[in-house]
Symmetry: C2
Subunit: 145 residues, 2 copies
């Protein structure tokens, strides 16, 4: 089944892929928890693994800039997913903590997220995924130099 591609480059397909994946992911997440986005959920999961991340580090991990992170976290605090306290060791930073609601949300949504990933990658062999990753990493390096 041929896809339209007005640019004729695989870069278009890459973009299309990630958009489709995000769309279905958000849809599935929304069925379980209505007031959270894919990225907010990823942020929770990342913080859950290491609660010492600064906002700046989180921004890098989920490919957002600091300004966006500031506002996303602000909303998540307002929605009671996170708490934020000044880091007394470095008062420029904040300590972020996941609330009970946040923890429950992770429990609820982790299986959904895994299912989303599995579904998206369904039918791909380990080799194919590794190859994919390798080529993409090459492109990333090309873009960085």
């Amino acid at each position: 089944m041929k896809q339209k591609n007005p640019t004729g480059t695989v870069l278009y397909t890459i973009e299309q892929t990630i958009k489709e994946y995000r769309k279905i992911s958000q849809k599935n997440i929304g069925k379980i928890v209505s007031d959270i986005t894919v990225d907010q959920c990823l942020l929770l999961i990342i913080l859950d693994k290491n609660s010492n991340y600064s906002q700046k580090e989180i921004a890098e991990l989920i490919f957002k800039d600091n300004a966006s992170i500031t506002r996303i976290i602000e909303l998540m605090v307002k929605k009671n997913y996170l708490t934020r306290k000044i880091n007394e060791l470095d008062r420029r930073k904040f300590n972020l903590e996941i609330t009970e609601k946040g923890k429950k949300t992770i429990e609820l949504l982790s299986p959904i997220i895994n299912k989303n990933r599995q579904n998206a990658l369904d039918g791909l062999s380990q080799d194919e995924m590794e190859f994919l990753d390798k080529i993409l990493t090459k492109i990333i390096l090309n873009c960085k130099k």
Copy 2:
């Protein structure tokens, strides 16, 4: 050179790839024309190939929703890249036309865009790109079903 990947899936790498590509593309475009974005430029190029596209069709081609396209086009008309007139055959639609400024911009930026693409895909063989496209298309279909 290993990349960090907090999710452990190639989907993360896909997202990273497109973000890096867009970043460098925007940077290179901005050196030549300061008031245009990657997507606006793609929109011009698409319209240049077929001036009969409706806003809805354009939206699908560049993965945006109608509301975004309405506003993007509004800005592009304001910046004098496009003109917009009601389509008398179907008064729900508009005829979009590229202005002289728009045409000049395409001429200026087409080589840049090609260079961006070439640079990003530098060192990839034809086979690798085809394989990449094939795998990604598989993922897209997985997400759509």
